[in-house]
C-alpha cells in the first residue's frame, strides 16, 4: 500500500472544527437567550416568565422550537417562492462567518486573520439583505414597509458603527481582533472603553439599531407594522428570523467585547469565561433596554443617526487620529 500523505493544513482543521463548534455555540446560545429574554421580561414585569417546562422553564424554548419546526410553512399567494424561503436562511447563515474571526480565548478562535474586523463588517451587511428580501418577497404591504425601514435603518447606522470601529482600529493599528484584544490590559481601566467611551456609546447604540432591537426595532414594530418584514412567515421561517436576531445580538456583543471590553482578558483567571461574561452582560443590557423604552419614530431614528451619531463619530475619529 502506498501511503499517501495528505497534508491537511492546521488552519483548515481549525476552521472546520471551529464552524462546527460555532454552530453548536450559536444554536445553544440563541436558545438560552430566548429563554433569558423571557425571564428578564418576566421579572421586570414582576411575573415569573416561563417556568413550567423543565427546571426554571429552561426547556421552554426547546419546546417552542419543536413546535415551530412542526408547524406548517405557509406562503402567501403571489409571493416569490425562491426569495421568500431564501430570506430566513440568508438571515441565519452569515452569522457563522461573523463568528469565525472572533477570539473567544487566547487560543480559542477558528480563523486568525489580519482583516478579521473587515470580514465581520462585510458580512454583517448580509443581515439587511435578508430582511429586505423577506419583506419584499412576501407580497405583503406591511412586509414591504418593514423592508423599506430595515434597509434605510441598517444602511444609515452602518456608517457611525464603522466610524466607531475605525477609531479603535486606528488606536490599535490593526484589524486583527486578537491583536486588538491583546492591545488592552486585563483591568477595566486598561480597556478601550476607558479611552474611547464615546466610540463605545456610538457602537452600542448602532449595534442596537443594526440588530433591530428596541428602542430601534422599527422594521418589525408590531404596533405599527403588525410584524414588519416577517409578517407572513410561519413555523421555522419565523423561527430562523427569531434565532438570527439573537445570534446577531451575540455577534455585536462579542465584537463590542473584543473592541472595547478587553475580550477574554479579565483581572483574574483570564479566559473564555471572561469573554462570555462580558458578552452576556451586554446582552442583558440590551434586554433591559427593550423592556424599558418605547420605540422611537422612524424619522427620529434617522435624525438621531445623521445629526448625532455620524458627526460625533467623525469628531471622535478625528480626535483619535490626531492623538495617535
Amino acid at each position: 500500500m502506498l501511503q499517501t500523505e495528505i497534508i491537511v493544513p492546521a488552519e483548515l482543521v481549525r476552521l472546520v472544527l471551529g464552524i462546527v463548534a460555532l454552530a453548536a455555540f450559536v444554536g445553544a446560545n440563541a436558545i438560552v437567550l430566548v429563554w433569558l429574554e423571557r425571564k428578564v421580561a418576566g421579572h421586570i414585569q414582576r411575573r415569573p416568565g416561563p417556568f413550567e417546562v423543565g427546571p426554571y422553564g429552561l426547556l421552554q424554548t426547546a419546546a417552542d422550537a419543536a413546535k415551530l419546526i412542526g408547524k406548517q410553512l405557509t406562503m402567501p399567494a403571489g409571493a416569490d417562492a425562491f426569495l421568500f424561503w431564501l430570506a430566513p436562511i440568508l438571515a441565519f447563515l452569515p452569522v457563522f462567518v461573523l463568528f469565525m474571526p472572533i477570539p473567544f480565548g487566547e487560543n480559542l478562535y477558528s480563523l486568525d486573520m489580519d482583516l478579521g474586523l473587515v470580514l465581520i463588517l462585510a458580512y454583517a451587511g448580509f443581515g439587511v439583505l435578508s430582511l429586505c428580501l423577506a419583506g419584499w418577497s412576501s407580497h405583503n404591504k406591511w412586509g414591504l414597509l418593514g423592508a423599506a425601514r430595515a434597509v434605510s435603518q441598517s444602511v444609515a447606522y452602518e456608517i457611525p458603527l464603522l466610524l466607531a470601529v475605525l477609531a479603535i482600529a486606528f488606536m490599535t493599528g490593526s484589524f486583527n481582533l486578537q491583536a486588538i484584544t491583546e492591545g488592552q490590559g486585563p483591568w477595566p481601566w486598561q480597556w478601550n472603553v476607558a479611552v474611547q467611551p464615546l466610540a463605545f456609546f456610538i457602537y452600542f447604540a448602532c449595534a442596537l439599531a443594526e440588530t433591530n432591537r428596541a428602542p430601534f426595532d422599527l422594521p418589525e414594530a408590531e404596533s405599527e407594522l403588525t410584524a414588519g418584514f416577517h409578517t407572513e412567515y410561519s413555523g421555522m421561517g419565523f423561527g430562523l428570523f427569531f434565532l438570527a436576531e439573537y445570534a446577531n445580538m451575540i455577534v455585536v456583543s462579542s465584537v463590542a467585547t473584543v473592541l472595547f471590553l478587553g475580550g477574554w482578558q479579565g483581572p483574574v483567571f483570564s479566559g473564555w469565561w471572561w469573554f462570555l461574561a462580558k458578552v452576556y452582560a451586554l446582552i442583558l443590557a440590551m434586554m433591559w433596554f427593550r423592556w424599558t423604552y418605547p420605540r422611537v419614530r422612524f424619522d427620529q431614528l434617522l435624525n438621531l443617526n445623521w445629526k448625532w451619531f455620524i458627526p460625533l463619530g467623525l469628531a471622535n475619529l478625528l480626535v483619535t487620529v490626531a492623538v495617535v
Partner: protein, 186 residues
C-alpha cells in the same frame, strides 16, 4: 449657544433614559406578583358573584325556599332561567272516586329549576328581585367545559348535592355556601 442647548437637552434626555432603567431595574429586583394558578388561587373569590344557585330552607336544606313566583325568570334580561312548576293539585275528577281532597295545598317548590349560564350576563336582577331570598350567587370562578351543555345547570340537583355534602360533613353551612355578597374580601 444653540449647540450648547442641544447638547444639554440631549444629556437631559439620556438622563431620563437612565432613570427609566433605574425604575425597571428596581422592579426587576422586587418579588413577583403572579399567582401560579393551579398551585395557588387568589384569595378574593368570596366576593365574586358567579352564577346563581338556590338557597335551601333552614330546616330542609335540600328543598329550596323558592315559591315559583317566576319573578326571576321574568326579570332576567336574557331568559336564562327556566322553572317548571308542579302541576296544580287537581287530582283527577270524581271518576276515581277516592277522597282526593279538592283543596289540596298547591306545591310551591319548583319541580325543576334550570339555569342556562351560557347566556347569563351576571346582572344580579334575579337575586335582587327574589321575594323569598331563595337565590344567591355562587362563587364558582373555576369553570371550564367542553360544550355548551356543561353550563346548563340543574340548580335543584346542585342544591341537593350541596345539602348532602353539608350533611356528610356535619359542619355548618358556611363551608360550602358562598358568603353573602358584599361582605368579606380582603
Amino acid at each position: 449657544m444653540t449647540l450648547f442647548k442641544e447638547f444639554q437637552s440631549a444629556l437631559k434626555g439620556l438622563w431620563s433614559l437612565a432613570v427609566g432603567l433605574k425604575v425597571t431595574g428596581r422592579e426587576f429586583a422586587r418579588p413577583q406578583l403572579t399567582v401560579h394558578y393551579p398551585r395557588k388561587v387568589v384569595d378574593n373569590i368570596v366576593t365574586y358573584r358567579g352564577h346563581i344557585e338556590l338557597v335551601g330552607k333552614p330546616k330542609e336544606p335540600a328543598v329550596p325556599k323558592c315559591i315559583t313566583c317566576m319573578m326571576c325568570a321574568t326579570v332576567c334580561p336574557s331568559g336564562c332561567i327556566s322553572i317548571k312548576k308542579f302541576p296544580p293539585p287537581k287530582v283527577a275528577p270524581a271518576a276515581e272516586g277516592e277522597e282526593a281532597k279538592p283543596k289540596a295545598k298547591p306545591v310551591k317548590t319548583p319541580k325543576a329549576f334550570n339555569l342556562n349560564y351560557n347566556t347569563c350576563s351576571l346582572c344580579g336582577l334575579c337575586v335582587q328581585n327574589c321575594p323569598v331570598d331563595s337565590l344567591r350567587f355562587s362563587t364558582d370562578v373555576y369553570l371550564a367545559g367542553v360544550s355548551r351543555a356543561d353550563f346548563e345547570y340543574d340548580l335543584m340537583a346542585r342544591l341537593a348535592a350541596q345539602a348532602e355534602a353539608v350533611a356528610k360533613a356535619k359542619a355548618p353551612a358556611e363551608a360550602t355556601a358562598g358568603a353573602k355578597p358584599g361582605e368579606g374580601g380582603e
